[in-house]
Amino acid sequence: MKPLAAVLCGVMRTLVGAHARWQEAPTTAQSIYFANHTSHMDTLAIWAALGPRLRPLARPVAARDYWDRGALRRYVARKVLNVVFVERMKEGREGDPLAPLAAALAEGSSLILFPEGTRGTGPVPAAFRSGLYNLAQRFPAVRLVPVYLENMHRAMPKGTFVPIPVICTVRFGAPLERHADEAREAFLERSRAAVVALA
């Protein structure tokens, strides 16, 4: 592990614990980990919780407007986390915004994804956007693993810049079942319910 990665994991352990609870034994099979999103530390928390075996396989999906700004953040995003950038802003987009994610999945990477698309303020996630559905359609063999981040909205609420120490457990649920011909709305609601069920 790179020294900076070890430091980041150490900071996460000290501040928020970020210990994983797996409903099923963790496997190295290609997965999309999708989670509720309440703080800037969420990506790091899941990344730290995945552990040394699964961590190198997973690439966090990160908004370019946040993670590609500032020298340190950009370095961490690119060199340590190996993120997949997405354009949240309409201006920066050319063509399919999901293309970089699909490319990463096609290469065999797992993804860490926040389907709400933005940070919420409470313990329960808001409605999911359709990105998760579209990726699930295009990659039917990839496991869809719901993840619930407990307490992260308390560690670093929206609008604050420094985290406070609160123990945040990262709960990994059982992979979502695949239903043939499921409508988009039904799928998104079911995947959201799978995250809420872990709360």
Partner: protein
Amino acid sequence: MSGHQKFYWLMGGVVTLLLVASLVGALLAARARTEAARAVIANLNSRIRAWWVMVGIFAVAFLAGPIATLLLFACMSFFALREFVTLTPTKPADHVPLFLCFFVLIPLQYALIGYDWYGLFAILIPVYAFLILPAVAALAGDPDRFLERSAKLQWAVMVTVYCVSYTPALLLLHIPGYEGQDALLIFFLLLVTQMSDVLQYVFGKLLGRTLLAPTVSPSKTVEGLIGGGLAATAVGGAMYWITPFSPLEALGMSFVIVVMGFLGGLALSAVKRNLGVKDWGAMIEGHGGMLDRVDSLSFAAPVFFHLTRYFF
């Protein structure tokens, strides 16, 4: 005997005790037949393993000197406060007060011990934090459950920072004829509180019949308290040679430590039940969280400190 010689004798005794405990644990594990017995023995053995680690950490901190000891206790306060805050409902308006508790109060409280500034050490949290934390919270402009939130935060820092910091504050004492050996008083306090917890657990498991306060703590028994408490008092009395006390004084001090430790465990058990949990956390294998290990210490340390400061 010099302070270091006493320390090595003490560690020899503790290591011997742990070796015996590990041996007994292994024998019990081999003999356990029922599922319930196996679970109890497995928990006992993980507790013993955690004790090896805790004793090792303390021994290293002691040998590394007072700054390492202060850092160690600051970390203990940090993790205990983190457990308390995790289980206490807070709101975004508490963010700045919480930040101050973790990143200003904890370093400051332990730095004051390092700088030998007893006057401010004694009032920093009960006076200044008491005034400033709710004022800062009020600035965030959320009056919802304000008194409750302020009271809980003050309670949390009093127990996990102020009270716990009285243990390394023993380094502040300047007892005639005991110069340079104050760190041994820390060991004496830790030994008596922790032996009291361990012996109450052992006596409770062996002889426990009558529950002491079933609604507050389902594991505390009268037999455990009396047997374990008296045994721990005797252990403390027998350790008089590492303290500035006479044998009888060491016995009396140990008795006070045992009583306060018991009351601390009881009061914090009531807080746990109030918050709806069994353990404060899962940091120390078999024991629960940091606060499960230091609950008795947090009540015993201030009383032991002030008795020693007044009479010696």
